[in-house]
């Protein structure tokens, strides 16, 4: 019986080890990537923010109101003219897939920036000009990315879509973020010493 008990100890250690080794401790929920292929390579993907329901936080330096209720936005002088927002982010199928921050700064180096964090895929950092290139449109570039976005380059466009006149819902319009990203082409010859 002692032999059986000892065998059980070894078996218990092996089973516990195997469970921890092969069963993922963290298994994030995923949505299908809804990218559309771009004509000359790369992928176009659209993300949305519903301004009425997806705003986690909004604070504007020097302004009285902020979101959420109960948030006391600090009145430091250095925050004057800055804007910080955090949103839930939706894909083209209107499913929440991540979270994003949008920062706006004024002054000589005025800017608009997005950091989009999609837990199962990675994060990207987009820089946009302060001045809109069309009504509610800003076209910028991808500055950096992590994991799935780490090797990509391309453009990021922000567009404000106003609420339709026929829309009787609580919606306050949408922000659309369109990325057009491509993996850099790496021209590689055959490895040295290898016949062509």
């Amino acid at each position: 019986m002692f032999k059986t008990f000892s065998f059980g100890i070894v078996l218990g250690i092996l089973v516990a080890g195997a469970l921890l080794l092969f069963r993922p401790v963290v298994d994030l929920e995923r949505e299908f990537s809804m990218g559309k292929p771009r004509q000359n390579g790369g992928v176009i993907e659209e993300y949305y923010v519903d301004l009425a329901t997806d705003r986690v936080l909004a604070g504007i330096g020097g302004a009285g109101s902020s979101v959420p209720p109960g948030l006391v936005w600090p009145d430091y002088d250095f925050l004057a003219g800055t804007q910080t927002e955090v949103f839930k982010l939706r894909n083209a199928a209107d499913t929440v897939i991540g979270i994003a921050s949008r920062m706006v700064g004024g002054g000589d180096n005025a800017f608009v920036e997005w950091v989009v964090h999609i837990p199962a895929r990675g994060t990207f950092y987009a820089l946009l000009p302060y001045n809109a290139s069309g009504p509610g449109i800003r076209a910028g570039t991808l500055r950096a990315g992590t994991r799935e976005f780490s090797t990509l380059t391309g453009s990021v466009t922000e567009r404000y879509i106003a609420k339709a006149a026929s829309d009787n819902s609580d919606a306050a319009g949408r922000l659309e973020l369109v990325t057009s990203l491509v993996s850099p082409f790496v021209a590689e010859g055959p490895p040295e010493g290898e016949d062509e």
């Binding site: 995923r30 959420p68 910080t84 499913t95 837990p119 994991r147």
Partner: protein, 243 residues
């Protein structure tokens, strides 16, 4: 029958021994020395509150600790963001003066390997220092020691809390020397590619509310100025002929 009971008892003992070995793993000692401690260049040093009620806002799925703040903040309950939290904080410089605002997103990482004493978290900081510029710090954090030394200790305590002095460098990657990647955005940081490290200092934790007394520290290296690069060049020994 008695053999089956022996086997089951043996397996339970084995599994318990295995878990104890993981818990007391001597090779998983916390790292309290920043990999940037020996950095010769200029660094930016920020402190920030790591207790949810001391942040401007903090949100998560609403069911786990720390508790969201303020109470009516939108919670991340959707299944794709359930393992994610967001904190918005004011950054203070080394003299304690508020100098910037930052948003931190963090999500549990699928690269987590408990066997290697790793409870990994992917996190990013979107940092805005008004008048200076913006940057992104992306990093991989290891929360294993935090869980083992604080959270589990608090659960074991009869008062459901923990008190002590705990310091740890949370950043373990993605750079090879255990630092995070810093990417400059606008202003004086435009085009910058540097490194950063986050540390946490905790003295009190409660099972019900999460961290009670805890603050964090961010260290970000700055690029060498032209003068410093020249000095380094001068300090380099001249190479021998033929080398």
């Amino acid at each position: 029958m008695k053999y089956a009971i022996s086997l089951i008892l043996g397996m339970l003992t084995g599994a318990t021994l295995f878990i104890l070995l993981l818990y007391f793993n001597p090779f998983a000692s916390p790292s309290s020395i920043s990999p940037l401690a020996m950095s010769r260049g200029q660094v930016l040093n920020f402190s920030f509150p790591a207790v949810s009620r001391e942040t401007l806002a903090f949100t998560n799925d609403g069911e786990s600790v720390p508790l969201p703040h303020p109470e009516k903040v939108l919670q991340l309950w959707e299944r794709t963001v359930k393992e994610t939290s967001a904190a918005i904080v004011i950054l203070a410089d080394s003299r304690g003066e508020p100098v910037g605002i930052a948003v931190k997103f963090q999500s549990d990482s699928e690269d987590t390997h408990i066997l290697n004493a790793q409870y990994l978290v992917n996190s990013v900081w979107h940092i805005h220092l008004p008048g200076r510029g913006t940057m992104l710090l992306d990093q991989v954090e290891n929360h294993w020691s935090y869980m083992r030394d604080i959270v589990i200790q608090a659960h074991k305590s009869s008062g459901d809390n923990w008190r002590g002095n705990w310091t740890e460098v949370m950043t373990v990657g993605p750079n090879a020397i255990g630092t995070g990647r810093v990417t400059g955005g606008s202003g004086e940081f435009a085009g910058m590619e540097q490194e950063g490290v986050e540390s946490l200092f905790a003295t009190a934790y409660s099972v019900a509310a999460g961290p009670v007394a805890m603050f964090g520290n961010l260290v970000i290296t700055l690029p060498d100025t032209d003068e410093e690069l020249e000095e380094e060049e001068e300090e380099k020994p001249e190479s021998e002929p033929g080398e």
